[in-house]
């Protein structure tokens, strides 16, 4: 098996203690950093699909993402300054009044592994904070808002509307357990995805990548 295949298997099975060494071995064997990264991105795609289809669960997905980030740590110094693979910056947060972040964190991981530079604002994020963050950071192409409570769905709406009023061309994606495609349409979001596995494809589609 090639070294890159080893890395893929280790990411998919979430072996975070072993990935760094395997990535280093692949580099030593002459594999290009970009190819190793692409392989890991593909692995996270597989993991995301398995999660969407209910084949694996949150813990499996978390350890896979953890493994990938260990691998990326090894690649970072090698790839420094080579911003070629970035899809742009995405700002993400859970809306005001809402403290749920497990789903948001999974989406952050999936978007990151798909090639977005993620800025995570955390939980209980007021609508204006999304706008400020979009202005403070470079090359922001997407804002992602998460809401898990029926009582914070209005906060999701407020976030989308505040962002659109301040930066009309900004793309916004929303999600969270009580959110539906209809609700996303109703509040004027550009997109919605039901789970982390499908969030990366949707995010890319929205920004036209």
């Amino acid at each position: 098996m090639s070294k890159i295949e080893d890395v893929k298997v280790l990411v998919e099975t979430g072996k975070s203690k072993k990935v760094a060494a395997a990535v280093q071995e692949a580099l030593d064997a002459g594999d290009k950093a970009q190819d190793i990264l692409d392989a890991m991105i593909a692995s996270m795609g597989v993991v995301g699909d398995k999660f969407s289809s209910g084949e694996i669960f949150v813990p499996e997905m978390l350890i896979a993402a953890k493994a990938m980030s260990k691998g990326v740590e090894v690649l970072k110094p090698v790839m420094a300054g080579d911003g070629s693979s970035s899809l742009g910056t995405c700002i993400m947060g859970t809306v005001a009044g809402d403290l749920h972040d497990i789903g948001k964190n999974l989406v952050v991981m999936m978007l990151e592994s798909a090639g977005f530079d993620m800025v995570d604002l955390g939980v209980d994020v007021p609508a204006e904070r999304f706008v400020e963050a979009a202005k403070e950071n470079n090359n922001v192409v997407l804002i992602a808002c998460s809401g898990l409570l029926t009582t914070t769905m209005p906060a999701l709406k407020e976030a989308v509307q505040t962002i659109k009023a301040a930066i009309p061309e900004m793309k916004v994606i929303v999600g969270g357990a009580p959110v539906t495609q209809e609700y996303a349409d109703e509040i004027g979001a550009d997109g919605y995805a039901p789970d982390a596995g499908s969030s990366a494809a949707k995010a890319k589609e929205i920004i036209g990548a």
Binding site: G14, G54, I56, F57, V58, P59, E60, L62, I63, K66, G97, D98, L99, I102, N105, L149, T150, T151, T152, M153, A177, P178, D195
Partner: protein, 328 residues
């Protein structure tokens, strides 16, 4: 005519068809839960008996939620780090008197249910943070198992105190192991790592002559047969993303379902209209009522803190229950 208590027990414990559909929100004296300061921190927020910090938030209807820096980072070090509440420091009789003053004590009319919050899985997440806890279950299963066993030992001591002072008919263990779309962990992980501890706790509750219920929100239909197997009399807070009707058909003679109302859908919204509320209560009564072994339960999440706003959310639901509970 049966008392509400007899009627409730007929459905929830004997798994038979009651005279009318019982209502969890009116036929039960509900003790425990948030009042256990050693489990959820003092009112208004603070440290619980495990050293976990709790905050009261308005969006949580004033309910405390765990936060702050996790007590435990590395599960393998739990024995040196995790401390358990000292249950002898708690004023059991004072707490009983206070709660009886608030919720009543008409034990001949209504069943007494004691809510034991923060089940084994939830306690692990409170100690470690959700994500670390979920990873630990896959990465360090043996250490998790040992910690779950220690939490269960502590819970069994808690059951002893509750049995002695509160003398409930039912103890409900709250362990939210599911999300909107399925279990947090694979059914295999549940079965190997959590279920044995759920069973030991159920057995301890039964040893005191008390009936064990388990509360699990979210989509957990896959493990209902497991709940049956470990001797759970009722599964509470059943939400309709589960095939409740299918469960009643298949397992209704072995386990009761408490729930039904679409708390996460339109009828669960703060701005739900009385028509929407009415229609969902009617749906529950007509679809689930005929199977027996069913207790209605429904509430709405309100944004204001405190019991008044909670009651405000429930009143129209209870009114509708009165209207439809005799549908057979």
């Amino acid at each position: 005519m049966l008392t509400p208590k007899e009627n409730f027990l007929l459905a929830a414990v004997e798994h038979k068809k009651p005279e009318w559909v019982p209502n969890e929100m009116s036929d039960v004296i509900m003790y425990g839960g948030a009042f256990e300061s050693f489990e959820n921190g003092p009112a208004g927020g603070g440290l619980d008996g495990f050293g976990v910090t709790w905050h009261a938030t308005e969006s949580a209807g004033g309910q405390p939620v765990p936060g702050g820096k996790p007590v435990l980072d590395d599960i393998e070090k739990w024995e040196n780090i995790v401390k358990f509440p000292n249950l002898d420091e708690y004023d059991w009789e004072g707490s009983l008197a206070m709660q009886a003053g608030i919720f009543g004590a008409d034990r001949d009319q209504r069943v007494v249910e004691y809510g034991m919050w923060n089940g084994q899985f939830l306690r692990l997440t409170h100690l470690m943070g959700f994500e670390n806890a979920l990873c630990a279950m896959l990465e360090e299963p043996e250490a998790c198992d040992a910690l779950f066993a220690a939490i269960t030992d502590y819970k069994i001591k808690l059951v002893e105190r509750v049995a002695k002072h509160f003398k409930p008919d039912i103890i409900t263990s709250y362990d939210d192991i599911a999300t909107e779309r399925g279990l947090f962990m694979s059914p295999g992980t549940y079965r190997s790592l959590i279920k044995p501890h759920h069973k030991r706790l159920n057995d301890a509750i039964k040893a005191h002559g008390i009936i064990p219920f388990i509360h699990t929100c979210g989509k957990c239909e896959e493990i209902i047969p497991d709940y049956v197997e470990i001797g759970t009399a009722a599964w509470t807070s059943a939400q309709p993303m589960n095939d409740i009707e299918g469960i009643l058909k298949k397992y209704g003679s072995q386990i009761a379902v408490v729930g039904g109302y679409d708390t996460n859908g339109r009828p669960g919204l703060e701005e739900a209209t009385n028509e929407e509320i009415d229609a969902d209560v009617k749906r529950c009564m007509e679809t689930y009522g005929p199977y027996g072994s069913y207790v209605f339960m429904g509430f709405r999440l309100m944004s204001g803190a405190g019991p008044e706003s909670f009651m405000e959310g429930i009143l129209p639901i209870n009114d509708a229950v009165e209207k439809y509970k005799h549908i057979k």
